[in-house]
Each structure stands twice: as structure tokens, then as C-alpha cells.
């Protein structure tokens, strides 16, 4: 990996880049703040420009923060951590490429955690687009980082099945009725992973990653509640508030958005030194997200200042 660009060490370049970016953004916000004192509104194109810089700068010159897992993430991490070796865990990839940047880091972190603990992992998807994203995880994480793991013995890919809740309604009592074979046409009966598994009730943990329908809610209603299997989930940030009613009884833990992914990744790195140099997109994305949040908050403050000053002026007239 290159650590020098045009003779300048990357670390220095990154620090200088960060400083210039923060100065630009901070200076710009200050200028807008001064304008707001004259009750001037900000054009939305200016807001767009600031968001662009706030997101682009930490991508070009990475800014990383230390993350500490919140209880809702820690509980799920601890559950995965505490299962006995050989436990059977199902990970559902119920998302599409739009949500993938936010939730695929979670799916990858769950996969890493389960494989490093020696669990038998069953992958499947209720979304047609989920199967291709699942293939990426299998290629990059499972085969790339755990070459010793064997398909059919340590993990299995059931792929996508049409039918939404209907699929869950069947596998809750009988897997083989809905999935007679895995995605490659290998009968489930001939795989070691499915030894002793008839239905979802025989699993030790189900983790659903997604953010739409069918997704976590359907897994809870049709599977988790019916056969009393422990469940955890990872979701896009916009969906997380809707799933809080299921925590902590029906969902042991919940990862919400990039922050949830970053917290889980930080726990994983803290517990397993082998992941210290593994890509952690959740932690990386916290830089752009943090700066974007700060810019949005600054604009909310500026908007309110100009609103109150404008209102006071109108009253005086």
C-alpha cells in the first residue's frame, strides 16, 4: 500500500486536508451565521454545497472516532459472544443496494463474529436483490477471510425465495418444504450444517439485517414469537425507531444505521485482534456522518436565529 503521495507522507497530507476542510466548513458556517444575524435566509444550494463538503472531506481525508457500544448493541454482541461453539445461527440479508452501504457492514460484522466463534451459519434472503449482496459477503468475508471454512459444513447459502412472509410461515415449521436444496442445488439433507435442523425452532439465534418489508418485523411476528428463538437485528437508521417496541424482549439487540454498525465493529476489534486490520466501513463512515450531522445542526441553529430576528423586525414595523 502506498504511504507517500508526491513525496508527502499520507498521514501529513490527511492531517492538512482535514484541517483545510474543517476550516473551509467552519469559516463558511460562520459567514452564514453572520448573514443570519441580518435575518437573511440561506439558499438551499448553499446547504447542498455544505453537505457535499461535509461528506466528501472525511472520505478524502479520513477522520475516525472512538466508538463505545450502547446497551442495545452490546446486548446483541454479548449474545453472539456467549453461544456455545457449533451453535446454529441464521443471518437473513433482507435489503437492497440502496440500503447496503448502511446495513451491509452490519451483516459482514455478524458473519465475521459467528465464523470466528465457530458457529454454523445459514444465509438466506427474502429480497431478490439480497441474494447478490449475500454473494458479495460470501466472497469477500467468508471465502476471503475464513478460507478454512467449508460450504455445507460451516456455512450454507439458501439464497433468495419469493413469497415474503409466506416463506417464513413455512420455514418456521419445516425448512425443507421451502428450501429442498441450497442455492447451488445441493440437497439440505446432505449438508452437515442442517444436521438436526428441521425448522427455525432448532436454531440458536436468528439475525435479520434489513430495513424494509419483508424484514425484521416479519421475522419477529412469523418466526421469533412463534417458536421462541432469540433474535437480533441490524437496520437502516430511518427504520430503527419503528423497531424499538420489540426491544429487549422480542429483539435481544438492535443495530441502527451506521452508528450501530460502527459500535458493533469496535466491539469486534476490541475482542479479536485478528480483526484489527480488517476493513471497518461502519467506523469509517462515522466521520462523514458526524460532520454531516454537525452541519445540519448548524443550519438548524442558523435558520432559527434568522427566523427570530426576522420576526422581531416585523413586530417592530
Amino acid at each position: 500500500m502506498l504511504d507517500v503521495t508526491f513525496g508527502i507522507p499520507l498521514v501529513v497530507l490527511s492531517d492538512v486536508g482535514q484541517a483545510i476542510s474543517l476550516l473551509l466548513i467552519g469559516g463558511g458556517l460562520l459567514w452564514i451565521f453572520i448573514r443570519s444575524l441580518k435575518a437573511k435566509e440561506v439558499d438551499r444550494r448553499v446547504v447542498f454545497l455544505f453537505i457535499f463538503f461535509a461528506v466528501a472531506a472525511p472520505i478524502l481525508f479520513p477522520i475516525t472516532f472512538q466508538e463505545k457500544a450502547t446497551p442495545i448493541v452490546k446486548k446483541l454482541f454479548d449474545k453472539v459472544e456467549s453461544l456455545p461453539a457449533g451453535s446454529k445461527v441464521l443471518i437473513a440479508f433482507d435489503f437492497d443496494p440502496a440500503m447496503a452501504p448502511e446495513v451491509q457492514p452490519m451483516a459482514n460484522a455478524f458473519t465475521r463474529h459467528c465464523l470466528v466463534k465457530g458457529y454454523k451459519v445459514i444465509f438466506m434472503s427474502l429480497w431478490a436483490t439480497g441474494q447478490a449482496l449475500l454473494t458479495q459477503t460470501l466472497e469477500r468475508v467468508v471465502k476471503g477471510e475464513f478460507p478454512e471454512k467449508q460450504e455445507g459444513v460451516d456455512y450454507i447459502n439458501l439464497g433468495y425465495k419469493a413469497g415474503n412472509e409466506g416463506v417464513l410461515n413455512v420455514i418456521v415449521t419445516n425448512f425443507r418444504m421451502m428450501f429442498p436444496t441450497d442455492v447451488n442445488g445441493v440437497p439440505l439433507d446432505s449438508t452437515a450444517v442442517f444436521d438436526g435442523i428441521k425448522s427455525c425452532g432448532d436454531l440458536d439465534l436468528i439475525i435479520s439485517v434489513g430495513g424494509g418489508k419483508p424484514g425484521i418485523k416479519e421475522w419477529v411476528l412469523f418466526v421469533g414469537d412463534r417458536v421462541n428463538v432469540p433474535m437480533g437485528a441490524g437496520v437502516a437508521a430511518v427504520v430503527a425507531p419503528q423497531l424499538y417496541p420489540y426491544y429487549p424482549k422480542q429483539l435481544l439487540g438492535l443495530l441502527g444505521g451506521v452508528k450501530g454498525a460502527a459500535e458493533y465493529e469496535s466491539e469486534l476489534v476490541k475482542h479479536y485482534s485478528r480483526f484489527e486490520h480488517t476493513d471497518t466501513p461502519g467506523l469509517r463512515m462515522m466521520g462523514p456522518q458526524t460532520l454531516a450531522h454537525v452541519v445540519i445542526m448548524a443550519f438548524i441553529v442558523i435558520g432559527n436565529i434568522s427566523y427570530f430576528i426576522g420576526r422581531r423586525r416585523e413586530r417592530r414595523r
Partner: protein
Amino acid sequence: MKRQIPLIITFLIGTILIFSFFIPPMEKLEQTSTLFFDVIAVFAFFLGGGNLLRVHFNKLRRRKRDWGFSTVTLIGFFVTLAAGLFKIANPGGIAASPTTEGALLQEIFTYVLIPLQSTMYALLAFFVASASYRAFRAKNREATILLVAAFVILLGRTPFGMMLTGWMPDSLSVLQVPNLAIWVMNSPNLAGQRAIMIGIGLGVISMSLRLILGIERTYLGEEGA
């Protein structure tokens, strides 16, 4: 008769599925019915594909406005369909999964669909920022509550929240921004979400009963009774 048959089917299937949920010996019946649903769902794919082709071929033939986009849609449809159906460039051959790494279908997905959908989703950041700037104004009491909640959540979802308020002693840790954000999610949000969910649940039950009993007939193209 045209009306009665769908009503009878709806009544029978609805009743059987309700009973099979509560009576274990009828479990098999429930599974079979669900498989029927899957078969119908597969036909819906054909119907959807057929409809897409009809709409865009018509647009193309009549040179309607933006017919160029229809051409792109049709080319995309046929290329993707062929790539998946004939497993073009699939390293595992015709018997392998269509999404095997290296297969044309997977390449189209990785290098076309993923960047396009991610870009569309990412644009939300710009609109959210602009909307927040315009909407979160403390114009009245309700708007102020919303503004404060949004501020706490925005700050609580970043490390800045802890940096700003992490100095507080343990006895006041509840006032730390990340903990306030958790409280907002766990209390007011939870209460609201539960109320909505219970409301939706009751609505679904009543609508299902109306469908099973044949009171609701809008799905047949009729006005509801």
C-alpha cells in the same frame, strides 16, 4: 357467479388459515396454502414483467415523450433477463446460482445497480439537510419540542454528543446527550410507535374480517358495503 366464486374462495382460505394457526393438526394445511401463495407470487413476476414490456413498447412505438428512457429500460430488462436466464459468463455453468461471483448477472448488479441505487439513496442527505433547515423552526410549542428532540438525536448519534457532555459526573449521566437520545428513543418514541402499531393491528384485524365475510369488496372492483 363472477362475484360469488372469489367471495367463496376468500372466505374458505381465510377461515382455514385462521383455524390452522390455532389448531396444530391443521399445520400442514397452512403450509400447503402458503406454498400456493408462493406459486401465485411467481406468476406475479411474469405479470409484472409483461406489463413493463407492454407499457414501454407502446411508448416506443408511438414515440411518446421520453421514449428514449423506455429504450434504456427495455435494453436493461432484456440484457439482465438473458444474463440471469442463460447464466452468461457464469463460472459454475448452467447449474450454478445465477449470482455466482464473476457471472454477468452479478457483474451487472455490482457495477450498475448498486452504484445507481446507492446514489439515489445518498441524495437523501441533501434533501434532509435542506428540509431540516427549513422545517425545524421554533414557531410554536409543538415545533420547539420537535426541534429539541431532533437536536438531541442528531447530536446523540455522533461522538460529539459524548465529547460535549462526557465530563458530567455519574450522578448526572442521564443528562449526557447520548443518554438523552436513548431516552427519547426508548420513551416518547416507543410510546408513540406502540400506539401506532396497536392501531394498525386492530385495523388489519377488522379489514381482514371484512374481507373474509365479504363485506369489503373493493378488491373485486366494487364499492365496499
